[in-house]
C-alpha cells in the first residue's frame, strides 16, 4: 500500500494548529500529540524509502496543477528529517520545561517540520519557495524563542539574511517563469534542455546559488549561522544544524542544479570552491571558540562543506563527461555524509543542551570534570565526536573514506589531502570539547549538579546507537541498494528527471 504524499505535510501541519488551543492545562496532551506526530512521520518515512511516486494535487494534469514528487533523493532526506525531528521532539519533552509557552514551541517546531517535508516533496518551483518560507519563518521565531538579549539579536540577524535569501530565490523563480513559461520542475527542465541556457536563466541560476547558499550557510554567506544556532534552544539547534540547512540549502540547490538546470563545468567548480572555503574556514574558526554551542555551529559550516564537496565533485566528473561510476561514488559520499552529519551533529547539540541545562552555562572555561556527573551525556558526546572526526568504525569514517576514494579516483589528490587535513582540525576541536567539558578539574560551584533523566537520555541514546550503526548503510549491500543508491541515481540521472516524472 502506498501512502499518499500530502500526508507527510498534512500530519505536522494539522497537529501544529492543535497546539496553541491546548494552552497551559493540556500541556501533557500537546506534548504527547506532537511526539505521536513525529513518530508517525518516522514510520511513514521508513515505509516509503526507495519508492518513487508522483501525486497530482486535485487531479490536475501536471503542468496545470501542483504535483508532489517522491524519488530516491527526497526519500533519503525525508528519512533524515524524520529521524532528527523524532529525537529532537523527544528531547524537548523534558528540556523545554524550563521555558514558558511550551505549546507554542511545539506548534512552531511542527510547522518547521511541515515546511521541510514540503520542500523535499515539492515538484514545483514556486511551491518549493512557499514551503521554504514556512520552514524559514518558523525557524526565525524559534531562534528568538528565549526572548533574551542574545536570542533577539541573533534572530534579527538570521531573519534579515534569511529574508534577503528568500527574495533572491523568488526573483529566480520569477525569471524562470518569464523565460520558460512554466513552474513545474519537469517542464522547466525540458524547456531548458530544448532551448539551452539564455542570459535570463543563467542569472536565475546565479540567484538560486546565492539564495540557497545563504540558507545552507556556505562560507561567504555564513554570517548568520554561528549566532543563530547557539542562541536557539538545544533541540532547535539540533534541528537547524541537523536538517534545516541541508533541506533548504543543499537539497534544494542540488535539485535545481542537477535535475532542473543540468550540470555544467563552471557551476560544478563554483560548488567545489564554495565547499572548500566552507570546510577550511569553518574548521579554523571553530577551533578558537570557547562557547560550546558556537564551536559546534562553526563545525557545522565545515561539515556542510564536505556534503557540498561530494556533490560538487560528482558534478565536476559528470560535466566533464567522465565515468558515471566515479561520479556516483563522489555523490554517494556527499549524500551519505549528509545523513551521517544530521545524526551526529543533532546528537552533539543535544548533549550540549544537556550540559547547559545541568550547569547553566555554555562557556567551556567554566566547566570541567563533568564526566562523572553526566555519564550518559559524556558517552553520547564521545561517540558523536568520534563519528564526526572519522574514527573507524563510526559513521563519519565511512563517508569520509568514500569521499577520499572518490577524490583520488578522479585524480584530485589535493582534494583528498584537504579532506584529511580538515578531519585533523575537527579532531582538535572535539578534543578541546572533551578536555574542557568532561575531563579536568570539577569547579566547586558545579559540585552539586546531576544529569536530567527521562526523555532526554532516551533521545540521546537513540541517536548514539544510530551513530554506531550508520556504517552498515554502506557495508550491507541490501541497505545500500535500498536507501542510498536510489538517492544517488536521482542526482546522476540529471535532467532525465523530467522524463521520469512525466511518465509516472
Amino acid at each position: 500500500m502506498s501512502i499518499p504524499l500530502p500526508v507527510f505535510i498534512a500530519i505536522p501541519l494539522t497537529t501544529a494548529f492543535f497546539m496553541p488551543i491546548c494552552g497551559k492545562k493540556l500541556k501533557p496532551l500537546a506534548t504527547l500529540l506532537a511526539n505521536l506526530a513525529t513518530l508517525s512521520l518516522l514510520v511513514m518515512a521508513v515505509s516509503v524509502i526507495g519508492q518513487s511516486d508522483v501525486y497530482k494535487i486535485g487531479k490536475w494534469p501536471i503542468p496545470l496543477g501542483i504535483n508532489l514528487v517522491l524519488d530516491g533523493l527526497s526519500g533519503l532526506v525525508l528519512l533524515v528529517i524524520s529521524v532528527v525531528s523524532f529525537a529532537a521532539m523527544l528531547f524537548s519533552v523534558r528540556y523545554m520545561e524550563q521555558y514558558t509557552a511550551k505549546p507554542k514551541f511545539l506548534c512552531l517546531f511542527l510547522l518547521m517540520v511541515a515546511g521541510m517535508n514540503g520542500v523535499v516533496l515539492s515538484g514545483d518551483i514556486f511551491n518549493l519557495y512557499v514551503f521554504l518560507e514556512i520552514a524559514s519563518i518558523a525557524s526565525y521565531a524559534l531562534v528568538g524563542f528565549g526572548c533574551g538579549h542574545e536570542e533577539l539579536e541573533a534572530s534579527f540577524k538570521y531573519m534579515v539574511l534569511g529574508s534577503i535569501a528568500s527574495s533572491f530565490i523568488l526573483f529566480g523563480v520569477a525569471l524562470v517563469y518569464g523565460n520558460t513559461g512554466n513552474l513545474n520542475m519537469a517542464y522547466v527542465a525540458r524547456a531548458i534542455q530544448s532551448t539551452g541556457l539564455n542570459k535570463g536563466l543563467t542569472f536565475a541560476l546565479g540567484l538560486f546559488i546565492v539564495g540557497f547558499g545563504l540558507k545552507a550557510a556556505l562560507v561567504p554567506f555564513h554570517a548568520w549561522l554561528p549566532d543563530a544556532h547557539p542562541s536557539a534552544p538545544a533541540p532547535i539547534s539540533a534541528m537547524l544544524s541537523g536538517v534545516l540547512i541541508k533541506t533548504l540549502g543543499v537539497y534544494a540547490l542540488s535539485r535545481m542544479i542537477f535535475n532542473v538546470f543540468g550540470v555544467s563545468t563552471q557551476i560544478a567548480w563554483v560548488l567545489v570552491v564554495l565547499a572548500l572555503l566552507s570546510m577550511i574556514a569553518g574548521a579554523f574558526l571553530a577551533i578558537g571558540q570557547w562557547d560550546i554551542k558556537r564551536l559546534m555551529a562553526y563545525s557545522s559550516i565545515s561539515q556542510i562543506g564536505y556534503v557540498v564537496l561530494g556533490i560538487g565533485l560528482g558534478a565536476v566528473i559528470l560535466a566533464k563527461d567522465g565515468n558515471l561510476a566515479w561520479a556516483s561514488l563522489a555523490i554517494l559520499g556527499g549524500l551519505f555524509h549528509l545523513a551521517n552529519h544530521s545524526v551526529y551533529k543533532a546528537l552533539l547539540f543535544l548533549t550540549s543542551g544537556s550540559v547547559q541545562m545541568s550547569t547553566g552555562t555554555r562557556e567551556m572555561r567554566q566547566m570541567g570534570g563533568l564526566a562523572e556527573k553526566l555519564p550518559v551525556t559524556r558517552a553520547a558526546c564521545t561517540l558523536a565526536s568520534a563519528s564526526i572526526v572519522g574514527i573507524p568504525p563510526f559513521s563519519g569514517f565511512w563517508s569520509k573514506l568514500i569521499l577520499v576514494i572518490a577524490a583520488v579516483q578522479a585524480g584530485f589528490i589535493w582534494l583528498a589531502a584537504v579532506i584529511i587535513l580538515v578531519s585533523l582540525l575537527t579532531l582538535i576541536m572535539y578534543l578541546k570539547v572533551q578536555r574542557y567539558v568532561f575531563l579536568g578539574q570539577l569547579p566547586e560551584n558545579l559540585a552539586g549538579i546531576k544529569e536530567h533523566k527521562g526523555s532526554m537520555l532516551v533521545a540521546m541514546v537513540f541517536l548514539a546507537c544510530l551513530c554506531v550503526l550508520m556504517g552498515l548503510l554502506v557495508i550491507v549491500p541490501d541497505l545500500k541498494a535500498g536507501i542510498l543508491d536510489p538517492a544517488v541515481k536521482a542526482l546522476t540521472d540529471g535532467v532525465s528527471y523530467s522524463v521520469k516524472v512525466l511518465s509516472m
Binding site: E153, K157, V160, S163, L170, A174, P226, G288
Partner: protein
C-alpha cells in the same frame, strides 16, 4: 526596460538592507526588495491592451467551441497574479515577525541602532 527598473528597485532595497544602521530601515529595505520582485511577477503576465483571461460566450467560435486565437493572444496571463497574492501573504508574515522582533529588541536594548546591539561576536 520595465524589468531593468524592477531590478534597480531590487538593488535599492538590497542596498538599504545592507548599509543602513537602523533596524526599522533595514526592515523597510527588505520589504522594498520583496515589492520589487512582486512587481516583476505582475509585469511578466501583463501586456498593453490585454483582456481578462475569462472566456465569454461570444469569444468562442460558435461551430466547434474552439477559443478564438485573437483571445489567446490578447488575454493576460493569470498565473503570476496568483503567485503575487501568495508572495504578498508570505511577506506580510515575515514583516510581522521582523517588526515584532524589532519591538522586543528595542525593549531590551533601548535602541534601534545595530552598531549598539552587539553582544554576539567571534
Amino acid at each position: 526596460m520595465p524589468y531593468a527598473l524592477c531590478f534597480l528597485l531590487f538593488m535599492i532595497g538590497l542596498y538599504c538592507a545592507v548599509v543602513k544602521k537602523n533596524m526599522v530601515k533595514i526592515v523597510i529595505g527588505i520589504m522594498i526588495m520583496e515589492y520589487a520582485v512582486n512587481l516583476m511577477l505582475v509585469m511578466l503576465g501583463y501586456h498593453f491592451g490585454g483582456v481578462m483571461p475569462i472566456v465569454e460566450r461570444d469569444q468562442m467560435i460558435s461551430a466547434d467551441g474552439q477559443i478564438a486565437a485573437s483571445f489567446i493572444s490578447a488575454s493576460v496571463d493569470p498565473l503570476p497574479q496568483a503567485l503575487v497574492l501568495t508572495a504578498i501573504v508570505i511577506s506580510l508574515g515575515s514583516l510581522a515577525l521582523l517588526i515584532s522582533i524589532c519591538i522586543r529588541t528595542y525593549e531590551r536594548y533601548g535602541t534601534f541602532d545595530i552598531t549598539d546591539i552587539r553582544r554576539l561576536k567571534g
